[in-house]
């Protein structure tokens, strides 16, 4: 068998949800939104998921991983993790994901594995670092509509809905090559108190944190409230963000394999 050219492996964090079968029974499933996978595959990376991973295996498995990707989900981070009770009865939770991401993020930061979180994934990141969330943004004044309409189609739901402003002179402004740009917005919750060692890099006009990073800028470890993985080919800022992440994954793989680093041309001009 010919040896395949190695490409970075990205651990895609799954959600865990009860789904119904045609014969009427309900069972727990590991569920992954394909939007993030498609982007990784299109950018030349290999998505991997380890369901039901035991805590004692996480560190060993991360040795072979070059990036962590935490996508969105209809489930919410459990408010107990930031000292609150659930604000609404209809919230769905995912205790397995809550527990796993804390450990994944801790090890990833320590081992300098790039991290990207979108939407719920950014909430995972923030809460893991000791931050808290606004549980129901509709109750928060400010005039920016952050949530999608359920009747809309997927393309419509992911369209750019409001502007964000990057911190002047900040890392996001450099990565994105823009200081004010429009983003998608499909979320009911958002960052309230930013976690320790996290730096806000973009805000909506109502002051909500829309992008943040880990304090050490030399490691790509970011949370985005919007979805840079969606339509990254036609949205230059999304493309540049994803490109920066992909580059960081290639660099991590080069370090892991002890090679000189595979030079990677920018995928997006």
């Amino acid at each position: 068998m010919s040896a395949a050219t190695p490409v970075p492996n990205v651990w895609v964090v799954a959600s865990h949800r009860i789904l119904q079968s045609p014969s009427g029974h309900q069972q727990m499933y590991t569920v992954m939104d394909e939007g993030g996978h498609r982007t990784l595959l299109n950018m030349g990376l290999q998505p991997v998921c380890y369901p039901r991973v035991l805590p004692q295996r996480v560190e060993g498995l991360l040795e072979g991983i070059d990036g962590l990707l935490m996508g969105g989900s209809d489930t919410n981070v459990h408010p107990h993790l930031y000292g609150e009770e659930p604000a609404r009865d209809e919230f769905e939770f995912d205790a397995e994901r809550d527990a796993l991401v804390r450990q994944l993020i801790e090890v990833a930061l320590a081992r300098r594995i790039p991290v990207i979180g979108f939407c719920r994934g950014s909430h995972d990141f923030n809460v893991a670092m000791g931050g808290s969330l606004h549980q129901w943004l509709r109750d928060r004044p400010g005039g920016v509509k952050h949530w999608e309409d359920p009747e809309e189609g997927l393309e419509e739901q992911y369209r750019e809905r409001h502007f964000v402003t990057a911190t002047p002179g900040g890392a996001l402004e450099r990565i994105a090559g823009a200081s004010r740009f429009k983003v998608s917005s499909l979320h009911a919750q958002g960052v309230n108190v930013l976690g320790s060692d996290l730096v806000a890099e973009a805000h909506a006009d109502d002051g909500l944190v829309e992008a943040f990073r880990w304090k050490d800028e030399s490691l790509f470890a970011w949370g985005f409230q919007f979805h840079p993985e969606w339509n990254w080919r036609v949205h230059p800022v999304y493309g540049r963000i994803m490109n920066a992440y992909v580059r960081a994954c290639w660099e991590r793989m080069a370090r892991r394999l002890g090679s000189d680093g595979s030079p990677l041309q920018a995928l997006v001009a």
Partner: protein, 256 residues
């Protein structure tokens, strides 16, 4: 290379579906009970989401076993020269991947276990065919689970299987008969090339197969050994035999 205590890895090809009928999004999903069983065996489940046929040669060397799971979806009948029924739930992406995965896994001595849809995939990949609706076949039983019952009822043992004397099945069961669960609408019609039928339902349906001359563990079962395997010695021994083969594969791969 450092010790890798997390191995062996077992690749479980995922399914693709919507979360419910009103959900427009595409999702890659795996029923948790398979992952739980693999973990309970001391192995690590791994998913390669959206893996395609051309990825198989690169991905297979990363793992130590392949477990083809059951699914609400059916193998599309075009793969065995028939036409899918309007009522069939289909997953053409999984079909496409597993048709090749079965053959490649066998070619490189990768332990392979097919469960329910997984057995049917092995059979079709080896050139066999399926009954599309067993319950419409004269002389065959209805092998489906009762609708709208609790899982415990749906996964309860429903019929006997007759096991070939001196087969591995008979060894795992400690007998030439065992009771198994039954949750399937399709079933083996023409046996695939190189498959040996070693377990039959009382109506004659092939429920357990071995790949003849396979260099590693290569079995398929129509029932669900992952269900409550810890309470069911036949299921447990089946899975343990698969796990032992994965461990062996892992050891031989890492070499002395």
């Amino acid at each position: 290379m450092a010790k890798t205590p997390h191995k062996p890895l077992v690749w479980l090809p995922a399914c693709h579906r919507h979360l419910d009928l009103s959900d427009p999004g595409g999702y890659t999903v795996l029923a948790d009970r398979y992952a739980a069983a693999v973990t309970a065996l001391g192995l690590q489940p791994v998913l390669f989401p959206m893996a395609e046929v051309d990825d198989v040669p690169a991905l297979l060397p990363l793992v130590d076993g392949v477990l083809l799971t059951g699914s609400p979806s059916n193998v599309e009948a075009t793969h065995f020269g028939a036409t899918a029924l309007p009522t069939d739930l289909l997953d053409p992406r999984r079909d496409k991947l597993t048709m090749r995965l079965v053959r490649e896994a066998l070619a490189c001595a990768m332990p392979l276990l097919g469960v329910c849809r997984g057995l049917q995939e092995i059979n079709v990949a080896m050139g066999g065919s399926l009954y599309q609706q067993l319950h419409d076949q004269p002389g065959l039983m209805d092998h489906r689970e009762p609708e709208h019952e609790d899982l415990e009822v749906q996964f309860a043992e429903r019929h006997e299987v007759l096991l070939e004397p001196r087969s591995a099945f008979a060894e795992w069961a400690g007998s030439t008969r065992a009771f198994v669960n039954s949750l399937h609408g399709q079933g083996i019609k023409r046996l695939g090339e190189g498959l040996v039928a070693e377990a039959h339902a009382p109506d004659g349906l092939v429920e357990g197969v071995r790949v003849m001359g396979a260099p590693a563990f290569a079995y398929g079962v129509q029932w669900h050994p992952e269900w409550r395997h810890e309470d069911h010695p036949f299921y447990e021994r089946t899975l343990q035999a698969f796990a032992a083969a994965c461990r062996k594969h892992c050891l031989e791969k890492s070499g002395p």
